[in-house]
Symmetry: C2
Subunit: 399 residues, 2 copies
């Protein structure tokens, strides 16, 4: 019935009103860099990403997560100096802007609006740059502003947490929370570049240091059993904040994440599955139920534990493998139980998850470490059993 | 230096931190339909666009421009009936929502927010549908909400004005005005479908009837000299509101617009040119300077006249051709002069235009009807001459 647009011939004369289905294609490039101390003027990474091009007027605004600014006194001055010393074709078009961070910064429009206003006031155009330095929440809210001001200016992300470097900062999403739903408003937008600077990880709290590891475990469970083994071996060093071990884990997690985006065939999630959100239906709900006192990475650890135990309850994943996952998450320092798991409201997370993605419910489970499969129904009684089982497993001391 | 992602081999072990440039591609389909009386249950067009698919839960919300609801008493009831009679697999998930229309509805977040809230309250998911019936402004503001709720739900546009049917409603843009800049916030998003229902045109005011014709002239000037001839021949009938003539002009304009989007190679305007915005640098500014009392289509008529006269002043377009364009616009009923053109603030429109698109200024001019070319500089003295010339030409009575 429908025809391709290129079949159309027209000279303005009346034609039968046949439907037109016009297909077109867009090419995208997602740039990912790994470095240490990106703001050292001798470090070429940021300079190369912001390379002088004919079509850019060389204007830059920089947005910094307040928590990062506090952890790195003098950071704003270093940014000023870097632009002067290393980016001679570029102008800092506004003073470095510090915005509140943490998941609650996504609960209203304030960070979005202040960044959009800066982009306006600083006359940032579509070929100018917005550099955002911060955790996943600031990257999300400021990134949404950058993606929608002028329908999208060039966004360079410098994720500063293990979670943002291993996972959230790599994605092609942005957004804020609205109407009590996490990430309800946002869009898909490919960043100009993402630069993972491991130096930022050194000042994280122990909780934030740990948080990215649950996402690393997640992507290992989905994509790469050998990576799971590596995380298992590295767990004691990771818990003791061994920077070399973390560098390797974050890097591989980021790569697997990016590889998924560019090779899955559905980077903007038009279809029904969202495999990278393994364990996330309960995690997102748990965050909301606890007013975000449980951090995203902590909630994901719990969510993974729930869904691997459910996979075992359903007879798909061997119990020993489920236990192995639970014990790795504990070895990394995660607490795997929270009183809110007793609240039946948790199960609303399934409907929120279905609705956000659309169509029928699709939940990813495991047949084995590294071998996921999808289901379209959840047996709530068995899911309750899995959660009850987690309460006992999680309580058991590490041997 | 950079490499393609598919060259990566990884097993979690440390590798040199080479940069990753990961390329990927997205396929889009843009559906355009032409019909009359789409809400007649016997008319298959909307039913086919909203066809039952496995991945859709069959939920629908409908947003209607207040002006359309007023012009068509009983419209909301007809929509209710249509869903019951013609869409048996679909549920109207909320009462039909009426929102204020006209360009001023884009001056704040209110339409955006009310539509986003409806999408939330009605549990519209990414595979559910939002149907928006209205002029270009409502399509823009409500479309921005649809594009960002859940990062994008399926949007079906029913443009109700000649301007929206010939031009604005066909595009892959949405947005609202902010910080005094037209369309400052928005995103690129391909609608699920656009349905041009010519019946809606019958109740337009003469001004709104006329407004789409300037965009039709624009696309003819850019793409199709024979279409310009056709508009010229049809001008007397168009002015007298001949529906058959308008059907043909709107249709060809919409097709040329869509053809440009899908074949230009840059549908999301990542690069430096925006050829479909011929005549728009002054038009957008004139709208703002007059608090939108000059309508978009009226401003575009003036903007076209300015840029064809400037093309002539620069020795590129023969003066007789420029005059031909001016006289066609007048024959269609447009007034081609406005006191605000004397205000030098008009020229700020050039910088707004440059900034919105990014990079260097790119303005499209004409060598001939149907033969555009781009310039990167505007000679302001000559542009002032062109505008002064317009004042005299426009004052001359039609012969």
């Amino acid at each position: 019935m429908a025809r391709r647009f290129d079949a159309i011939r027209g000279n303005g004369k009346r034609q039968p009103a046949v439907p037109i289905d016009a297909a077109f294609t867009m090419d995208y490039v997602h740039r990912l860099r790994f470095t240490s101390d990106v703001l050292d003027p001798a470090n070429p990474v940021l300079r190369e990403v912001l390379a002088k091009t004919e079509d850019s007027p060389g204007r830059l605004v920089v947005v910094v997560d307040q928590g990062v600014a506090e952890a790195w006194p003098g950071l704003c001055e270093r940014i000023d100096d870097y632009v002067i010393d290393a980016l001679d074709w570029m102008t800092l078009a506004a003073p470095v802007q510090i915005v509140p961070g943490g998941e609650t910064c996504k609960n209203d429009w304030s960070v979005y609006e202040s960044v959009a206003r800066t982009i306006h006031d600083a006359a940032i155009c579509r070929h100018s740059y917005v550099l955002v330095i911060g955790g996943g929440a600031v990257l999300d809210a400021a990134g949404f502003a950058a993606a929608t001001a002028h329908r999208g200016v060039r966004l360079v992300r410098l994720p500063t947490t293990t979670l943002a470097q291993a996972d959230a900062g790599i994605g092609v999403k942005n957004g804020i929370n609205a109407f009590g739903k996490k990430n309800f408003l946002g869009c898909f937008a490919v960043p100009w570049a993402v630069i993972n600077d491991e130096k930022f990880l050194t000042t994280l709290t122990d909780r934030d240091w740990r948080c990215g590891l649950s996402e690393a475990v997640k992507v290992a469970l989905l994509k790469d059993a050998s990576f799971f083994d590596i995380i298992e071996s590295a767990a004691p060093r990771l818990k003791e904040r061994d920077q070399t071990a973390m560098r390797s884990i974050v890097r591989r997690s980021a790569e697997l994440h990016l590889q998924h985006i560019v090779s899955c065939g559905d980077p903007f999630e038009m279809r029904g599955a969202r495999p990278l959100d393994f364990g996330h239906w309960s995690a997102h709900k748990l965050e909301q139920m606890t007013d975000f006192s449980v951090k995203h990475g902590e909630a994901v650890a719990i969510g993974l534990a729930i869904d691997v135990l459910y996979s075992a309850t359903m007879g798909r994943l061997p119990g020993s493998e489920a236990e192995r996952v639970v014990r790795l998450l504990e070895a990394l320092g995660f607490s795997l139980y929270h009183a809110a798991l007793n609240d039946p409201a948790l199960f609303e997370g399934l409907e929120d998850f279905r609705e956000h993605l659309g169509g029928q419910l699709t939940i990813t489970l495991l047949d084995a470490i590294g071998r996921p499969f999808d289901v379209h129904e959840i047996d709530l009684a068995r899911m309750s059993d899995a959660i009850a089982h987690l309460a006992t497993v999680a309580a058991r001391p590490l041997s």
